[in-house]
Structure formats: C-alpha cells, structure tokens
C-alpha cells in the first residue's frame, strides 16, 4: 500500500495530518464492488479544501451510490511535494491512499483563478498527462472541472476533457452513470466525450476552437463540429429541498479554515451588486425550507459533534425565515453549547432580533460590506445600502455588546475618484462615532474596527465584465492614500496584494491563449499563487513573455459592449442585454432595486420557468 511509502515522509513535513485522512465520517468502501472511482481534487491545501461546501455536497452525493466511490485529494504543500518527488511518491487520495492515476475520473473544483497552477502541478504529481490527446493515448483518467471559474473555461481549455457548468448535484451523477455505461459498453474516448457534450451544462473544449483577428484580438469561440451545442447552458437545481444535502460531513482532526457545520440556507442572491460574479452565476435565488434546515441541523450536529454552526449563502440576512430559524436553532441546540454564527451579513438585513439570539450563545465578529465609501459609488455598483443603515446596525450591535466590526471595501471600482476613498474613512469614522454614542456602562470595552480593501477584479457575467482593471500603480497609490486616511485610533487597515489581483483579472477574463501562459508559469515553478509566500510575480511576467503576450492586454482591456467575449459560448442565464443595461445604469449612477421588489429582466425567468420568485 502507498501509505507505507507516505508514512516515512510525514515526520519531516509541516502539518502531517493534512495527508493522512481517516477522519470521522470519511467514507470507506471495498474497491472490489466499485464501478466508477472519482478523485475529487481541490487545488489548494487540505485546510482550504476541507472548508469548501460544494465538495462536501458532491462527496456525499457520489458516495451514496454503492458502486461509485468518491475520494478526496488535496494539493501537497511545498515541503510535502518535495518529499514526494524525491521519493517517487505519486499524488494520492486520502480515503485509500491510491495513486490518482488509478482513478476513472479526476475532477477539480475551480473556486478561484489563482489555483490554476495547482491543477497542472497536481496532474504532474499524479503522473497524468496534461493534455487530452496525451491522455487518450495513455488511456489516463478523464480530467473534468467544475465550480464558478468553469463559467470562463478558456484559460484551462487545453488541459481539461470536460467542464461542468452550474449546479453540480445532478450533473456529477450523470457523468459517472454515463462513464459506467460507456466503460461497460466499450467505445472510444471521443465517443464518450461527444455523448457528454450533448448533455446540458457540459463543455468539451476539444470540440471547439478559439479565433483571433489580424490584430490578435479575440474573435470568438466556434464549434469544430455541428453535433455539439453552440452554446452551453448552465445547470440549475430548481428546488433545493429536493436536492441532496449531506446529513453527515467529515470532521477533520486538524483545524481547517471553516471548522464548523455549514448549513446552506439559500443559493443565489436577489441584490444585483454589479461587481459580484456569484450574484449573477447562482441566479435565481432559491431557499431551503425552514423544516428541512432544522432537520439537517439536527442530523449534522448529531453526526459531527461540532460546537459551531454557520448559516451560509450569498446573503444570509435575506433568508425569508431567518429570525425564526435562528430562534429555533438556539432553542434546540443552545443547551448543547452550540454557537450559531451568521457570516456575510449585509448591513441592511433585519438584524435586531437575530443579534439578540446569537448573543445568547457566542459572540462572533460583526462583518459589514459597504464596498464603497460614498453613496454615489455605492449606487454605481448597486450596493443598495446607506451610511444611515450602517450607523443604525452598528449602533444596535454596540448596544447589545459587540465591540469588533469588520468593514469590507473595494478599491479600483469603475468611476472611482479619491473622494470615494475619503468616504471609506468617513464610514470608519461613523462606526467610531456610533460606538462612543452608546453609554459607557452599556457598551463593551475594546473597540476594534478592521477595514479591509480588496482590489476590484472585473469578472465575466457581471455588468462590469467590459471594464478594465486599475493599473498596479494606481491601486498602490489608492492603498497608500487609504493607509494615511485610516490612521485612526481603534482602526486597522488591510489590503490585498495588487500584483495578485492583476493576474487574477487576466485569468478571470482571459481566452484560450492563457493555457500556454499557465503551462509556462508552472514550468517556471509557480504554484500556490494565492499564497503570498509562494507567489512568484516575476516568473508569471516571464511566462507571459514566453508566449508573446502581456498580462496588461487581458487585465487592462476595455471590451466593446458588442465585442465577442471569451465566455460568450457559455449561457449563465443572465442575458448580455441585461448586463449591458446594468452597465449603462451604473455609469449614470442609477440603482436597480432588489429583484424581490422589481424585476429587471435579467433573463432567468425565461431560462428556468417557475423558479424565480421575483415580484410575483
């Protein structure tokens, strides 16, 4: 067994429990009765990957089938990678310590662009050829990808056999069922992929090509054969209650990023923030019923022993039955010392009652995301909240004993001026003022206001998809300005590495030419790019140069509103016309209210009938 060769390496690496599996609720199966072996690969460390909800859901769904076996694989950290390469130990799964090359299907979830080099590195560590044609020749596992970044699959197109676009619950089962039938029937790999390409939500990049005009500008993705769809419609689960959700999840031994039960109360968001890709990709908003959630909470807490539970969604504060859910969860589980935490609260959510409930058990930090400093810019990005609402919310929280507040903001947004940065200082000052307006005997001591500023990255399928990113110099200037402005007592300021955001922008909106850049960067030693200590900016710039391209031409590009876009062949449900209308409204600083108030015709009502509840 491979474990005998892994074990001697463990004493010499950091956090060895990343590599040993065997956790509570890990699925164990005899390989004898298995028809399809699926390696679920997360292209980052164990602690990051194990925090990911989608993996828990799909792991559960696949393993419910007796004859399928889904195992987990994570990217080894640099020390372990070196030890593995030195000793000829291939990439392995945690359930059975099997080489990843022994699996039928190797699936990666693409959560963020800066994990792409890890995908290549993991294939290499597994000894799996990187391109589809090489894999065909070697009869190696099929390589499939899903997750939000699969909505612009082009930068990985050369390395992947199949992209799965949209909600994965049904799609991943179909994949394994079709694979099983194909394997038993016999046939060429191309036949299998052709069959898959004709199932909704599947994109097989080898059946498509990318065109460029005489100036080297992207000119569209075209079919190479007419028996595959011209556009790939994303998959969408209409009813979350009927979708499978795990009632037991793996409890890691070692601490992970989100070390708690995650209860997905809803998918999608009705707010329509114009920078937010998730808010567009996961439309329409769908909720789980109160009863279903209470039942899941009971089962999950019982099967894991976790002492903390979070209610997760893009906008948990908008969940229709939030106060009742919070109250019932506290009633039922409070005596067992379970803390209920509510992350990603929006500042205009109905907080009052909920705050009192959560306080009964455990105080977690309060997080608000005003995103921009002035009302004008908040209108541009359609973040429909006001300073007054922020003031009321934090005032309320301070009266109820909170003393730590996080403010998430963004710099480099379209139309931003230095006045908007002044506004960020103004918001921080407003929070301080509200704190000191609460009488001393009522408020908690130890006020902490953390302001963070990420850099705007234009993303596909958002109204800002045509916008250029600020240059690194401009982002650095704005960060410096904010550092000076936020030199206030009790306020700390943090910001994102702009070089990383620059690269992220190129890969978010890039086309198929970036496959070459990616390969070159990996060859130059890039991996774990999202980790500051591993990020090699110069190597990346050299990789662009190797391919005769620049990062600027992708990150700083302003697309024409009617120009072909590298992700036009993917149908996310929201129409281009809607995104164009939203872009125009943004520049005029006109808001589009929450779509529960007014339908803005994003296209989802036509895309999937009867699910969208907006203004019905």
């Amino acid at each position: 067994m491979l474990y005998d060769r892994i074990e001697p390496l463990l004493a010499g690496v950091s956090k060895p429990a990343r590599y040993t599996g065997g956790e509570v609720n890990m699925v164990k199966k005899e390989l004898d009765g298995i028809d399809v072996r699926f390696a679920f690969c997360f292209p980052d460390t164990y602690e990051v990957g194990m925090s990911h909800l989608g993996m828990k859901i799909l792991y559960h769904i696949l393993n419910k089938r007796e004859n399928f076996y889904c195992e987990r694989v994570f990217a080894p950290w640099a020390d372990m990678e070196a030890a593995m390469r030195q000793n000829g130990v291939p990439l392995f799964s945690l359930e059975t310590f099997s080489p990843v090359a022994d699996f039928d299907i190797v699936g990666f979830t693409l959560q963020y662009e800066m994990s792409y080099t890890n995908v290549l590195n993991m294939l290499d560590l597994a000894g799996i050829p990187m391109t589809g044609s090489e894999r065909d020749a070697a009869n190696a596992p099929f390589v499939v990808c899903g997750g939000p970044c699969a909505f612009n699959p082009e930068p990985l197109a050369d390395f992947v056999d199949l992209f799965m676009v949209g909600d994965g619950e049904e799609q991943i089962l179909e994949l394994c069922e079709h694979y099983d039938a194909w394997k038993k029937r016999g046939g060429t790999r191309e036949e299998f992929l052709l069959e898959m390409a004709n199932i909704e939500g599947n994109y097989v990049p080898r059946f498509y090509e990318s065109a460029y005009d005489e100036n080297g500008e992207f000119a569209g993705v075209r079919r190479l054969r007419d028996d595959v769809p011209a556009r790939i419609r994303k998959r969408c689960i209409p009813d979350l209650d009927s979708a499978d959700y795990p009632d037991r999840i793996i409890v890691p031994f070692t601490e992970i990023v989100h070390d708690r039960v995650m209860l997905e109360v809803a998918r999608g968001c009705t707010r329509g923030c114009r920078f937010c890709q998730a808010g567009m990709l996961y439309r329409p908003q769908r909720e789980r019923s109160l009863d279903k959630l209470l039942e899941l909470a009971r089962k999950l807490l019982g099967s894991t022993g976790y002492e903390e539970m979070s209610l997760s969604s893009l906008s948990t504060g908008d969940y229709s039955h939030l106060p009742e859910l919070a109250r019932k969860l506290v009633q039922e589980h409070g005596c067992n010392k379970v803390a209920i935490s509510l992350p990603s609260l929006r500042i205009d959510s109905v907080l009052g009652e909920t705050l009192e409930q959560t306080q009964q058990i455990r105080k977690t930090g309060l997080t608000f995301a005003p995103e921009a400093g002035t009302q004008r810019l908040r209108d541009v990005i359609n973040k429909g909240v006001t300073e007054q609402q922020l003031r009321e919310s934090v005032h309320d929280a301070f009266e109820k004993g909170w003393s730590a507040v996080k403010l998430y903001t963004m710099i480099g947004l379209p139309t931003e001026t230095d006045e908007d940065l002044d506004g960020i200082r103004g918001l921080a000052q407003a929070v301080l003022d509200e704190y000191f307006s609460v009488p001393k005997e009522v408020r908690q001591k130890g006020l902490r206001v953390s302001v963070s500023a990420s850099s705007f990255v234009p993303k596909p399928f958002t109204p800002f998809q045509w916008e250029p990113q600020n240059t690194i110099e401009e982002l650095e200037r704005k960060q410096k300005l904010l550092r000076e402005k936020l030199h206030l007592r009790s306020v700390t300021f943090s910001w994102h590495e702009p070089h990383l955001s620059f690269l992220e922008a190129a890969f978010a909106r890039g086309d198929r030419r970036l496959c070459g850049v990616l390969l070159a960067a990996w060859k130059r030693g890039c991996r774990f790019d999202g980790w500051t200590e591993e990020f090699k900016f110069d190597a990346w710039m050299a990789a662009f140069a190797d391919c005769g391209l620049t990062c600027e031409q992708f990150a700083h590009k302003r697309y024409d509103l009617d120009a072909p876009l590298p992700w036009d062949h993917i149908d996310a449900g929201v129409t281009k016309e809607f995104l164009q209308r939203e872009w125009k409204k943004a520049l005029a600083a006109q808001t589009s209210p929450d779509c529960r108030i007014k339908c803005h015709g994003c296209g989802m009502k036509q895309f999937i009938k009867g699910v969208c509840k907006s203004c019905e």
């Binding site: 474990y3 429990a17 040993t20 065997g22 509570v24 409890v251 070692t254 099967s303 022993g305």
Partner: protein, 221 residues
C-alpha cells in the same frame, strides 16, 4: 472518569490540541454527560495524562473527563467507542475523583515499542548500554542544552530478525524530567525511520516496584 485509549496508525499524525478537539467532539456525538467550562467559549473539561508527540502511536494514553451526570465505565466505553474513528479506541475506564493532576504527579516512566524497518540497531544499542554517559541535545520551548540521557534510559533492548529491528525501552517520564524516544533513537541511529508506539505508563509503589499508571490512578479512587 479516567479512560485509557489507543492512538494508532493514521491517528498518530495529529497534534495534542487536535486530540482535545477530537475527543471533545466524540463525547458530544456520543451524548455523554460531560461538564462544560464557563465563559464565552465553553469546552468540555477534559485533560490528558501527558501529551504524545506528533508521529508517535500509543496504546496507553489516559484521559480524564469531568462528568455532569452518572454513567458507568462500561456504558462510557460502549458509547465513546461507537463514535471514535478507526485507530482511536478506549480500552478501559474507571470512575475516580480529580484524577488528572494526581496522575501526572504519580507518573515515573513510559514504555515504548519501536520498529525500525531495514536497519539493524542491535550494535548501536549494545554500545549505548555499555556507556555511563551519553550527551544529547535536548530542546525545550525556550532553550537547547546538552544533557546526559543515559541515566534516563531505565531499560532498553533490541532484536534484529533480518528485516527489521524491534526495540523496547522504558524511559524516564516525570513532571520534572522526561526523555523522548525520538531523541534516544536519533542518538542511537540518526536518520533511520522508526515506528514508535507508546505501550505503557508506570508509577512506582512505595517499595519501588513498578505499577501501571492506570492501576495506580484507580487505587487512589
């Protein structure tokens, strides 16, 4: 309640802090009547006889958990073992009052079984036993110093069967002074891969005779 448990195989690679969380969650899954600490982050009142280094296996760890309700040792074992992952298993349990600090104070030695695949360590062991003083670099949190480890080795033997060396060792383990098996093995055979299993904790009777720590803890009850 005190309980003896094993931490074997894959379970040897997570830390002492992880063990605390793991045991706490197991007790919650098992629905055991455990007592919680006060404060904002209530946790199960749970203590261990001593920590086990990452990478070491053990058949004899001892935990001490404060109970809030009545439960028999047999029931405790049945319920906790039903929810522990493979490699963690409680072998026996006993009801005692305020055991943990007392257990720590009673402990004198720990016993280990070591396997070194593909290495013959018998000559090294023989050489070590012939010496009266063996200096080794002992690291603690704050400082590193040279100490004579020879007197802390109370028993040591080695057998080589042509494929692997099998060692047993009894090493000093008190609050004040303790010799880790990794350090001894590093001195005996630097760079050789060894599987180490802790197999026993001992206390001394008044007449100086060795007695198992768990038994000593039960005697106190």
């Amino acid at each position: 309640m005190i309980a003896e448990f094993e931490k074997m195989g894959r379970m040897s690679w997570f830390s002492h802090l992880d063990l605390q969380n793991t045991m706490q969650r197991a007790m919650r899954r098992a629905g055991l009547p455990v007592r919680y600490s006060q404060g904002f982050n209530p946790h199960v009142n749970l203590a261990f006889a001593t920590a086990l280094s990452v990478g070491l296996q053990s058949r004899c760890e001892i935990l001490d958990v404060e109970l809030a309700g009545e439960i028999s040792p047999e029931e405790f074992l049945t319920r906790i073992n039903a929810v522990l992952p493979e490699g963690l298993k409680c072998s026996r349990a006993a009801l005692v009052e305020d055991a943990a600090p007392a257990l720590m104070a009673l402990m004198t030695e720990a016993e280990y079984a070591v396997e070194a695949p593909g290495a013959d360590l018998s000559a090294a062991v023989e050489g070590f036993l012939a010496l009266e003083e063996v200096m080794a670099e002992k690291k603690s949190k704050s400082k590193t110093r040279m100490v004579n480890i020879r007197p802390m080795v109370h028993a040591l033997d080695c057998a080589f069967d042509g494929e692997k060396s099998v060692l047993t060792m009894i090493l000093e383990q008190t609050n004040a002074n303790c010799l880790k098996p990794e350090l001894l093995l590093q001195t005996l055979a630097p760079g050789v891969f060894c599987r180490i299993v802790r197999t026993g904790f001992y206390a001394r009777k008044q007449d100086g005779a060795r007695v198992g720590l768990f038994e000593a803890g039960m005697d106190k009850a």
